[in-house]
């Protein structure tokens, strides 16, 4: 286990890489879903105001 964590001495390069990757992967998932939700909410509002106006 320790050998795994130490990565043969390269740990301080390898693990930040994986950490950054996890960060970017996670952020993109979050952005995509948040953008979709925001667009849906805005669309609902537009539809509702259209309906109210008609």
């Amino acid at each position: 286990m320790l050998k795994f964590l130490l990565m043969g001495g390269y740990a301080r390069y390898v693990w930040p890489c994986y950490g950054l990757t996890a960060l970017v992967v996670g952020l993109n998932i979050h952005w995509a879903r948040a953008a979709l939700r925001a667009a849906q909410a805005e669309a609902r509002r537009r539809m509702a105001s259209l309906k109210a106006a008609s």
């Binding site: 990757t21 995509a32 979709l36 669309a43 539809m47």
Partner: protein, 253 residues
């Protein structure tokens, strides 16, 4: 036959619905593929002859670099399709690509630098691959900057589509010119491995990661594109049905 499929996907309500259904079918396999790739790459693959365990960075660096390039091509192609056939769906797809591609280009650069530090001794070397990635990042930033600067979303789509098309023609030229330039400096070839060819135990996890990241990108793209489509279709009637507003029926997103 392909045209029928093409036109169907070009229809906004169809795309909105199908993209929503398909996204999980790419997301979960992506997670599985990456998990398998990580187990193989971090655990099962033997340490490299020259680089020791440091080479394992390739299992995140290569997918990031692959994504950065592939996403640009997808972005430029869909932008061109949008420009030629005036397809809103195509523009929505192109717009969705930008942030994803730029962030993974930055990640490829960061992981490349972190990989370079122990291997070359410095964080930066004007290695052809890193230099090309840097220029690619500038292309993305230019695309996003142009989009940002134009207020009207339709004009922003069209102008950035022209830019992306010009850029994609340039990508192979840039890549070749940088390789040529770098060959003059006789820089040590980075990221080569101790063995002449990559053994299966190292290669298979890499392929799994590449496939997993690709599926992950498709899932992201489908999700984002739906939102971009809503923003562009404004008050089209199909939106009310799709969101279940007019009838009051809730629909699963």
């Amino acid at each position: 036959m392909a045209w029928v499929w093409f036109h169907r996907f070009g229809s906004p309500p169809y795309f909105y619905r199908v993209a929503g259904l398909l996204a999980p079918w790419f997301a979960w396999p992506a997670a599985l593929l990456c998990a398998a790739g990580l187990v193989g790459g971090l655990g099962l693959a033997p340490a490299d002859y020259q680089q020791g365990d440091g080479f394992r960075i390739i299992y995140v660096h290569a997918p990031a670099a692959w994504l950065s390039l592939m996403v640009y091509v997808v972005m430029a192609s869909s932008a061109a399709v949008g420009l030629i056939w005036r397809m809103t769906v195509a523009y929505a797809v192109a717009a969705s690509c930008a942030a994803i591609g730029a962030s993974f280009t930055a990640l490829a650069l960061a992981t490349g630098m972190l990989w370079g530090r122990p291997m070359w001794g410095t964080y930066w070397e004007w290695d052809p691959r890193l230099t090309s990635e840097l220029l690619l990042l500038f292309l993305y930033l230019g695309y996003m900057g142009l989009r940002n600067a134009i207020d009207d979303i339709g004009r922003a789509d069209r102008a950035s589509a022209v830019l992306a098309t010009v850029g994609v023609v340039n990508v192979p030229i840039i890549h070749y010119s940088v390789i040529w330039w770098n060959s003059l400096h006789q820089a040590p070839s980075v990221m080569r491995f101790g063995q002449p060819t990559m053994p299966a135990a190292m290669l298979v996890p890499l392929l799994l990661m590449l496939a997993g990241f690709t599926a992950y990108f498709v899932a992201l793209l489908l999700t984002r594109a739906r939102g971009e489509l809503l923003r562009r279709e404004r008050n089209a009637r199909w939106i009310a049905d799709a969101l279940g507003v007019a009838t009051g029926k809730g629909s699963a997103c």
